[in-house]
């Protein structure tokens, strides 16, 4: 039995494993085209990637999470383009019958003679302006996606950079950075964000309105009409507000890891070779401490979506006619529970997106740790050997 476990046999591959192997192979082929011989030189790394996918594939919660977030991302990217109606189609103005219809309704419009003029399908119902709820949720997904991406792309690097600097240089630099971090951490994040989000829009709005390029860029980002440019400001303020409260935990985690990572002798060896400080930080220290941060990021995207929804729910984010998930719930809340769909569907969307990121984060925690990764691999192999 022993040797069958130990031998370098490749594990049995399920469909998912074959798919992930193909994925890795095609990525490496692509890199090979740019840099010939790359896969040859990075064989160990590629095998490790495949093993990571293999371990990931053994985790049902991870797979559910992956399905959820892939759907979330696809909906966020393409949703606005496939939405049956635009968020600006206020059908209620022309057709009062579309006012707050329940899910699955078909509204038939007839003219005075009784001829059918138009037929509207509303799978998820409509809101008080007669807007299609399904379309609103699709548009809202885009806002959630963009907000979480921008927060992560801007907030996390700031946090990481400050943490690296504080941890590596120590002394006065460390004192100053960490005391500021402490101050930010001492305020409840939501309250701080509310404070920022309520004062910022007035400052941002003129900038956007006066700049043609910004208008264009953000209208693409939010899949919104340029006419709503003035309404970009509150969403952007929410983004800024979240970034402002988002970096401190990263700074603290990174600083702690740097403190222990810089004791590694390879850092000392690099110093002795005369490697520059920033190269030591980014080549020798950061790659060795980044895994827990990646896990935190995935878990955090869920929280960003939630916080953005909360701020919108408080009326600070998207303004009419723009929508995001929090805003739809906010508008629908006054009709709850009679017109339940206005709260339940966007709420469900938020819930699933957040759940997806959390499931992925928890699985990544295991997959990124080489030790648990191996033990997942071993358990499967041993199970197989015992069956024989």
């Amino acid at each position: 039995m022993g040797s069958s476990i130990a031998s370098k046999e490749t594990y049995e591959k399920k469909i998912l494993d074959r798919f992930s192997d193909k994925l890795v192979d095609s990525i490496t082929n692509l890199i090979d085209k740019v840099k010939p011989g790359w896969s040859e030189r990075n064989k160990s790394k590629i095998d490790e990637w495949k093993l990571m996918f293999y371990a990931f594939n053994r985790s049902p919660p991870g797979i559910i999470g992956a399905i959820l977030i892939i759907s979330f991302i696809l909906i966020g990217l393409f949703g606005p383009y496939v939405a049956p109606y635009s968020y600006r189609e206020f059908l209620y103005i022309e057709y009062p019958d579309t006012y707050l219809v329940p899910p699955g309704s078909t509204v038939t419009i007839t003219n005075k003679r009784g001829d059918i003029v138009k037929v509207f399908n509303f799978p998820l119902g409509t809101d008080k302006y007669g807007r299609d709820l399904l379309s609103l949720i699709l548009y809202g997904a885009r806002v959630s996606l963009i907000v979480s991406l921008i927060v992560i792309l801007l907030g996390v690097p700031v946090g990481i950079l400050l943490g690296l600097v504080a941890g590596y240089f120590g002394g006065k630099v460390d004192e100053v950075i960490m005391r500021i971090t402490d101050i930010f951490l001492a305020f409840p994040a939501l309250i701080l964000a509310i404070a920022f989000a309520s004062v910022l829009p007035e400052r941002i709005r003129p900038i956007i309105i006066q700049s043609g390029i910004l208008k264009q860029v953000f209208s693409v980002f939010f899949a919104a009409d340029v006419r709503d440019a003035a309404n970009f400001a509150p969403i952007l303020s929410v983004i800024l507000a979240i970034i402002l409260v988002w970096w401190p935990p990263y700074t603290r985690i990174i600083r702690g890891s740097v403190l222990s990572a810089k004791e590694n002798l390879y850092v000392e060896a690099a110093k002795a070779l005369g490697v520059s400080t920033w190269k030591i930080l980014f080549k020798h220290i950061l790659p060795n401490i980044i895994s827990p941060v990646l896990v935190l990021i995935t878990l955090d995207i869920g929280s960003v979506i939630l916080m953005e929804a909360s701020l919108s729910f408080l009326g600070l984010g998207a303004q009419d006619p723009m929508v995001d998930w929090g805003k739809i719930v906010y508008d629908g809340a006054q009709y709850f529970p009679d017109r339940w769909w206005l709260v339940i569907f966007p709420g469900l969307a938020t819930f699933l997106a957040v759940l997806g990121w959390n499931l992925i984060g928890d699985t990544l925690r295991d997959v990124l740790d080489p030790r648990t990764r191996r033990s997942i691999e071993f358990k499967v192999k041993r199970g197989k050997a015992e069956e024989k």
């Binding site: 022993g2 476990i5 130990a6 191996r374 033990s375 691999e377 071993f378 041993r382």
Partner: protein, 335 residues
Amino acid sequence: MIKGMKTLGLKRKILEVKDLHVHFYTYAGVVKAISGVSFEIYEGETFCLVGETGCGKSVTSRAITKLIESPGKIVKGQVLFYRDGSPIDLLKLSDEELRRIRGREIAYIFQDPTAALDPLYSVGYQIAETMVAHNTATWKEAFRRAVDILKSVLIPDPEKRVKNYPHELSGGMKQRVVIGISLSNKPKLLIADEPTTAVDVTIQAQILDLLRKLRQEEKMTLLLITHNMGVVAEMCDRVAVMYAGKIVEIGTVHQIFKNPQHPYTKGLLKAVPNPLIKIEKLESIPGTVPNLIFPPSGCRFHPRCPRKLDICDKKEPPLIEVEEGHKVACWLYVK
């Protein structure tokens, strides 16, 4: 008189290990940590297990009282402990019976004294605790005896030190306290697993001195595990040399150092720089210690052996006696 010879005469076994196998079931595969280890220890002697990292010394010593934890498993073998001349197989005893023997008749000292002491209790309490746990003394008596024990392991100011907590002691002192604890029940067999690896040479000299003195005074048998050939030469009567989970040579300290037979023993002795001799060039053993998941076939040393024969990678050499009390597992000596 030649060291080690005296024990050959009085042949009263205290421990006999027979064909012991221990495996570890790890993610990378099954580590065959020791495979077929057999040796005996006689009453009153100091027996050494010597070998490089990972050769299975600690596993062997722990397996003696079933101190192997998951993912490890004792796969096969017998450990006979002679109590008043009659053997009992320790591996067949229940955990409760073993616990009574461990600490009372067989005591352990490990490499890291800090891990062996509980930081929350004074050293006096910890010494007394072992005696009370094995019902050899009442609390009151045990506390009084703790002072004597500290005195016997040469700790200055024992009356004050009993009240100290582990962090108030230096590494050398902690190791002496650990020795004191293990001696508190006057064990018959003391198993010391690299007791001086974590301390400096001068402290090592003190601790070895102490062990030597205690062994004489208490008439204990000592199983000493080390990777330091110097310590072997200074402390032991008989020696077993281990390589990759097997014993390759066993004999008196004099036989091993003056007349080594196994190519590995020879290489090991030549690889240690003796500071008293002028050495032009050290001889090294090529290659590295094998992976115990896939141990080499036949003699496990064959990939590194300078005198390898054809048969060596095919069949395992038996452990045969080449002179009285001197056994070697090597095809060069099989007729």
